[in-house]
Amino acid sequence: MNTQQNYKIIISGPVGAGKTTAIAALSDIVPVRTDARPTDEVAAAKNATTVALDYGTIELGAEAKVHLYGTPGQDRFDFMWDIMTDGALGLILLMNNAQPDPLADLRQFLSAFSDFLQTAPFCVGVTHMDVKSTPTLEDYHKAMSRQVRDRVVPVFSVDGRSRRDVNVLLMAMLGMIEPRILADVANSQAA
């Protein structure tokens, strides 16, 4: 009998934020992708975009497996978001700073996931800051404080291609569940 426990983490954000790349940086397997040639306004920015979901895993031995799901970025797929977050451990939101109004994107995603985010840990990674440096991380914090009033959410600048950056983001999400775990890891690394 298979006794492996399964967990899932959701990675979401607008088109071109680097969700697919981030899953590739986190996953132990070659990610499953559902890319298609875009037929809408996305075609101007990308040759291919996610139409169903991206999928990867982090294997934790025989005992547990973490499933990583990346949502499609277009808001016409938002009906999927509720389904995907059901039972998820947490959410990583990736925001594309090169978009015309990334703070509006942030507000939209926070609204869309508002029920889930009332209880689940989440963090925000801002990509493409090398392309466009504004809004700054402080602007994101300010924008978020209007919608998320009861906690201080991690917001980091992230290069979605960097395995280190994406893992730091995931680490912050784990830290919000149980900070002591990370301290234990830090101590064991130092020893």
Binding site: Y7, L60, L174, I181, L182, A183
Partner: protein, 327 residues
């Protein structure tokens, strides 16, 4: 402010080793009423080391080349050259008494190399300040020479950097020893010639290194602190402790002492974190009655099935990737 430039150029932070070294040059900022006493202490500790002193009044200090500040860049460069030249001739005198060895020749080469680097970085910073019309902080010179419109404006400690606009920063690949007015010593190591750091990450590293377990004066070890904004952890050199402590201080007001106990970290580690976060205005003292914030490890998380064992395993896995080790 004192800056002691170690003789050997290193690429790794090595506090204890470096503190045993004789510096090649002392840049001393005579601040406050006890400047003279501090200078005497330094001279006693390093009697033969050449020194340049930046003073506001231009008052003489025995055994040092005094430069009134703010000093023009060319004046400071000239003073450094003169001080180092004196030191080289002193060494040559020593060689005449005891015939030269390979070690001494190596010292002279390093001495020349050091001078070139010091002056080179000053000239580059001056050029950058002129070309951009902006202020430049020069790292690699200890407590940070601040250039504005061709003048070296005193040095600044991490505490005053909070209000300073630092658009560009030049760095240099040598270590410096920093001794601040609270007698806290640290070695800053900056890698990569002319690399530009992000301002926040740069200030974070600087404050962290300068703290070495000391807290800002305003913060008592038992004062409840609360995180107001997370640092940009992806840009920190060692993000693990910063992420862990940010997560803790974000959940509820907690003191340095309690945080150290709860996390199983040393108070030095927590103090370094708090000093850096306070320096960047990311953390503050909680004066109000603690609000009802969502705490870590809530019932909802447990309903989702997290167990500490699985979480710990995942955290180790993620950390090993962050630290560049094999998972």
């Amino acid at each position: 402010m004192e800056v002691l430039v170690p003789r050997r150029l290193r690429r790794e932070v090595a506090f204890s080793e470096s503190l045993e070294e004789q510096p090649d040059l002392i840049l001393f900022g005579s601040d406050g009423s006890d400047g003279l006493r501090r200078w005497k202490d330094l001279r006693q500790r390093y009697p033969a080391t050449p020194a340049v002193c930046l003073t506001y009044g231009g008052e003489p200090l025995e055994g040092a080349l005094v430069v009134p500040r703010p000093a023009r860049v060319d004046v400071l460069i000239e003073s450094i050259e003169r001080a180092l030249a004196g030191h080289i001739s002193f060494r040559h005198t020593g060689e005449q008494r005891a015939p030269g060895t390979a070690h001494q020749e190596q010292s002279s080469i390093e001495q020349f190399d050091l001078k070139e680097r010091l002056i080179g970085v000053l000239l580059r910073a001056d050029r950058l300040a002129t070309e951009t019309g902006r202020d430049v902080l020069v790292d690699g010179m200890g407590r940070f020479l601040f250039l504005r419109q061709g003048q070296v404006f005193t040095t600044v400690g991490w505490g005053s950097l909070r209000s300073l606009c630092v658009p560009r920063i030049t760095t240099e690949s040598f270590n410096v020893r920093v001794v601040d007015s609270r007698r806290v010593e640290a070695v800053m190591n900056v890698e990569g010639t002319s690399a530009l750091w992000g301002r926040e990450a740069f200030l974070w590293e600087m404050a962290w290194n300068c703290s070495r377990g000391a807290l800002p004066l305003e913060i008592a070890p038992d004062a409840p602190l609360v995180l107001q904004r997370w640092p940009d952890c992806t840009r920190l050199r060692e993000p693990l402790v910063a992420v862990a402590l940010s997560a803790l201080f974000a959940t509820r007001p907690i003191s340095v002492l309690d945080a150290a106990q709860e996390m199983g970290l040393s108070t030095t580690q927590v103090a370094c974190y708090v000093t850096a976060a306070y320096g960047l205005s990311l953390i503050g003292i909680e004066h109000r009655v603690p609000r009802a914030v969502r705490t870590a490890g809530s019932r909802e998380d447990k309903k989702r099935g997290w167990s500490s064992r699985v979480l710990g395993r995942l955290a180790r896995r993620v950390a090993s990737r962050v630290l560049g080790k094999n998972a």
